[in-house]
């Protein structure tokens, strides 16, 4: 069988497994990992009314993975009475971020301007973080809707990263690294992150050294967080499909090796 034909069968098999498992209304039980527990405990430990800056550093492509996680983190933060200041340094993340923060704020009856604010998009992440460290008003004269920051009750007395309790970076690429390099290293603001599964291991060294205070990643992280919040959501619904896919990949690896070793024995 040619390489191309084998590839097509592999793709078809994966598609069938994912579609079938997504249609089955079964929720698998996830064990909460120490990393997710650490994030949960961190947000729990923040004093009520602390200002959290949420940076939506992702674009539309990672929505299926990032959205369940973002909603969990925002819900937990709002339930603890934390105040949220939303920003975005990727153009696509701007609208997505606003819709998520607005949706979760409404669930908890939070008022715009008092409990949360959305500042909007600015280009060039590194420059923006450095400016935020000096003066938030230097970067954002107005919020997303054109309201001057001075007339927003939540931002009275808040004008730099020094007055922010923690920055929550929701990212699908290396933008969280820039938050650590510029925000944490220069202005000593704690950074926590919600990232896609593929980025989790690249941030492990920073988590271990304390440059990142807490991190949770991927659909699995969302499922674990939903369990901690006692909510059923897209994270837990996706676990059966994800686990089935993992088993399929293991089967592919074993099959590939079986074929390879048999061919090698045949040559000998």
């Amino acid at each position: 069988m040619t390489d191309l034909r084998i590839r097509r069968w592999i793709f078809l098999g994966l598609a069938v497994i994912v579609v079938l498992t997504m249609l089955v209304p079964v929720t698998t039980k996830v064990t909460v990992s120490p990393y997710t527990q650490r994030m949960y405990d961190y947000i729990d430990s923040l004093p009520a009314h602390s200002v959290v800056m949420v940076s939506f550093d992702h674009d539309a492509s990672s929505q299926p993975e990032i959205r369940p996680l973002s909603l969990c983190l925002l819900r937990h933060a709002f339930s603890r009475g934390l105040k949220m200041a939303g920003v975005s340094f990727q153009s696509e993340g701007t609208v997505i971020g606003y819709r998520m923060i607005e949706q979760t704020a409404k669930e908890f009856g939070r008022e715009y301007g008092v409990d949360y604010v959305y500042l909007g998009f600015r280009p060039q992440l590194q420059a923006a973080i450095l400016q935020l460290g000096e003066s938030i008003r230097g970067l954002y004269a107005q919020d997303y809707f054109g309201t001057p920051l001075d007339s927003i009750p939540m931002l009275v007395g808040i004008d730099s990263l020094a007055q922010i309790a923690v920055v929550l970076s929701i990212a699908d690429a290396n933008n969280t690294t820039h938050w650590m390099e510029y925000g944490k290293a220069r202005f000593n603001v704690p950074i926590i992150a919600g990232v896609t599964a593929s980025m989790v291991t690249s941030y492990d060294p920073y988590l271990s050294s304390g440059q990142l205070s807490a991190m949770v990643g991927g659909l699995r992280g969302a499922a674990e967080y939903e369990r901690l919040l006692n909510r059923h959501g897209a994270g837990q619904r996706g676990m059966l499909a994800q686990s089935a896919t993992h088993l399929y990949l293991i089967a592919l690896i074993l099959t590939g090796n079986f074929i390879f070793l048999r061919a090698r024995r045949g040559k000998k």
């Binding site: 539309a60 450095l130 400016q131 230097g138 060294p205 271990s208 686990s243 590939g256 090796n257």
Partner: protein
């Protein structure tokens, strides 16, 4: 910029703020350069008769969103937001989802026990995949412990070593650029 990092003096901070403002302005202008470049390249290709359908699609996409935003705004419920939510987002998510298929084909092709190192890679990959299953506790929870150990120890050690190397490489490359030793990126290699 390097020296002002160590100085809280108002003059240093003023220089810093000024440079950051210019950096942001240049980034915004660069976006315009990109859009003009895309439009120009595809228009020229269209006129020359090369890949007409693809180029028309690109030009339609480039023009459609600004026109929709200009005519009906970008508030919730506008055609711009509708196009973003129901056309752009699903298309981008679809391309991202292709990654799963390519991981499957790469796993089938790449994880072969050719030699000792490849066998270690193959066994590690299998253990990590098993550790991410969520079919409850018991037997599988042992794999989670092993997977977490591998993530926190050998994987972390290798990652740190590569990060140190990359950090040093970035440092020397940056110094070469700042000192003018490295000029290739300016288009002048000699």
């Amino acid at each position: 910029m390097f020296l002002q990092y160590f100085s809280p003096h108002p003059l240093a901070r003023a220089v810093n703020r000024g440079m950051l403002d210019y950096w942001q302005i240049l980034s915004a202008i660069a976006l315009v350069v990109g859009v003009v470049g895309v439009a120009r390249t595809n228009l020229m290709g269209l006129i020359a008769g090369k890949d007409r359908i693809n180029r028309l699609t690109v030009l339609a996409g480039v023009m459609a969103m600004p026109i929709l935003a200009w005519l009906w705004g970008t508030t919730a419920g506008s055609p711009f937001v509708w196009m973003f939510e129901y056309v752009q987002m699903p298309m981008q998510a679809t391309v991202f989802a292709l990654l799963a298929f390519f991981v499957a084909s790469a796993s089938f092709r790449g994880f072969r026990a050719r030699n000792a190192q490849a066998t270690v890679l193959l066994v590690s990959a299998t253990i990590i995949l098993m550790s991410r299953l969520s079919f409850g506790e018991g037997f599988l929870s042992q794999f989670q412990w092993i997977g977490d150990w591998m993530r926190d120890n050998p994987s972390m050690a290798a990652r740190r070593a590569i990060l140190i190397g990359i950090g040093l490489g970035s440092l020397t490359t940056s110094l070469r650029v700042l000192l003018g030793v490295e000029r290739t990126w300016l288009g002048g290699s000699k």
